[in-house]
Symmetry: C2
Subunit: 334 residues, 2 copies
């Protein structure tokens, strides 16, 4: 069943069929009805590849998401989706696994789908100028920026929180409660991920508050997994080191740590305070409720779209938006 068959069956030309299928004006009601009837009857489904191939342009905006099911992105994606729709564009989303190359994916997508623009969600912080030349449409990095890369500020746009400052703030909250022995739970110190940036904020805060950085209070795990955080914390606890608070660089990791702490008989927040960054829904259902610095997910999504669309329409050039976090008091901070 191709467009040709439909044309023949409904007694019109393929172009007419194409026109009704694409809601073009300049088609008589009569022709329209005939075609639609045949389409219905034979359950005709146009071939996407042919369609995309033939098209000279599109109003597609691509979204490349790293991570198959990061709950943290769900809200942002929803917001991005409706924002794109509202702006009159069509969202084309591609999720990629941790190991895959988002730039390659984006470059392919740009050509295949004839994108007008791109949004990266959860990419790396170390894009190089050279690699980005394969992307020829405007793009905005959402939830991260290019801290470790070689891009000029003017080569791209971004929407994110100030991760370094958020970590600083988290530590400050703890210090204000009188804590000095603050464990930090992070993933790969030098992994070039957001973990590194937040760790830097932790160190900066310690310095500012006159606390010596203690290597013994650093728990480094190899992922952002809740399970790994759990076992990482558990193993560390066996060392029996003194501490009164934990700063986890993500909610997810904090959740794993909390279980380990609980099993070790530590009461939160009395024996040990816990604070993290992210503000995902799940951590709100923990017992006790996790105290954390929330990223403004909806706002991030809508800002990213607004920014991108402005750039596409020439109403704006590159821009770097930094959004504030808000403290969820929770029950692990006191």
């Amino acid at each position: 069943m191709t467009i040709k068959d439909i044309a023949r069956l409904s007694g019109v030309s393929v172009s007419t069929v194409s026109r009704v299928l694409n809601d073009h004006p300049d088609v008589s009601e009569e022709a329209k009805e005939k075609v639609l009837a045949v389409v219905q009857e034979y359950n005709y489904i146009p071939n996407t590849s042919a369609r995309e191939l033939g098209k000279t342009s599109s109003d597609n905006i691509g979204v490349v998401v790293r991570g198959l099911s990061n709950p943290f992105y769900t809200k942002i994606i929803t917001e991005i989706g409706s924002g794109i729709e509202k702006a009159g564009y069509t969202m084309v989303m591609q999720q990629i696994a941790a190991g895959e190359d988002e730039i390659m994916t984006a470059a392919k997508m740009e050509r295949d789908k004839k994108l007008q623009g791109l949004i990266f969600l959860g990419g790396n912080l170390d894009y190089t100028k050279e690699r980005m030349t394969s992307i020829n449409v405007p793009y905005v990095c959402c939830t991260f920026n290019n801290q470790y890369g070689t891009l000029d500020k003017s080569d791209y746009s971004s929407v994110c929180i100030d991760d370094n400052q958020a970590a600083y703030d988290a530590v400050e909250y703890l210090v204000n409660e009188g804590h000095r022995k603050i464990v930090v739970l992070l993933s790969g110190v030098e992994d070039g991920s957001v973990s590194q940036v937040r760790f830097a904020g932790y160190k900066r805060a310690l310095k500012d508050f006159g606390i010596q950085l203690d290597e013994n209070l650093i728990i480094e795990i190899n992922s952002f997994n809740i399970a790994d955080a759990y076992s990482g914390m558990k193993d560390w606890l066996k060392k029996n080191r003194e501490f009164t608070a934990v700063f986890a660089i993500s909610d997810n990791m904090a959740m794993g740590a909390m279980k380990a702490l609980r099993e070790a008989g530590k009461k939160m927040p009395d024996d040990v305070a816990v604070i993290a960054i992210d503000g995902i829904e799940a951590s709100e259902y923990m017992n006790p409720v996790l105290s954390t610095l929330c990223q403004p997910m909806e706002k991030m999504g809508s800002e990213a779209v607004k920014l991108l669309v402005d750039i596409i329409n020439g109403k704006s050039t590159y821009r770097h938006v930094i959004l504030p976090t808000t403290l969820r008091e929770g029950e692990t901070l006191k």
Copy 2:
């Protein structure tokens, strides 16, 4: 940059370029090197649409997943992915939102990607024979079957747990602990979803154990959301009805309910026991750890692939696999 340019630039024909791009044999080392060099130099990326359009067949297996980020599916997807790879096929995954039509999506995909077979993850239980005629390759329903539809058993295959029995078992565990006033937390009684099947299991168990179904102990919410479960439970608690246990039809909902119970001052499992079905990772990090009947996620994924591949290769016809659940004791049951 098209294949033609590459051909010209490397002094061979387009067919030769196509051959090296597709790893065909029958290409001289020399030609191969030349082409690859040019491809590298110009950073050429073949157009996917054109590729798919020209192709006469593929070794693609499609996976249609309902729900953008259901953590419950993550493990299954991973397993399906590696299973498909191992079998020498290529996975093409498409995630669709709650409102979208998975059959339409699958039908499009089948034609566009020239699929050999399909796996549905988390679809509905009420497919009609008529609608499924648009799918012309073998498919297996994973995590659900066609309980409410009009398909013949021989029209499809499935891999899932016995949801009715799982609910029955859950209630039985509670009854064995002496509970008689068992609240059930479910989504839309007549929604045709798995909620309905599990509710049926709940009722069957009550009957078998001589407990009168009490309408006052049914909490019905409109989604599977943790937040809705929380507020649903909270509202219900205001009614001050007597009960000693809660059976939630999903882990997620149980997690919401637990928070409401906690806030109402109910200790688990002493004041009230809680049990659910699913066994997602997050519920293992709750405090107390949720007692639940775990679905064998990895097994479900691998079985689904094995079954589908067998059918594709003519080594098997339709089959309906029912996998056992296992109890995670947890801390909410006693």
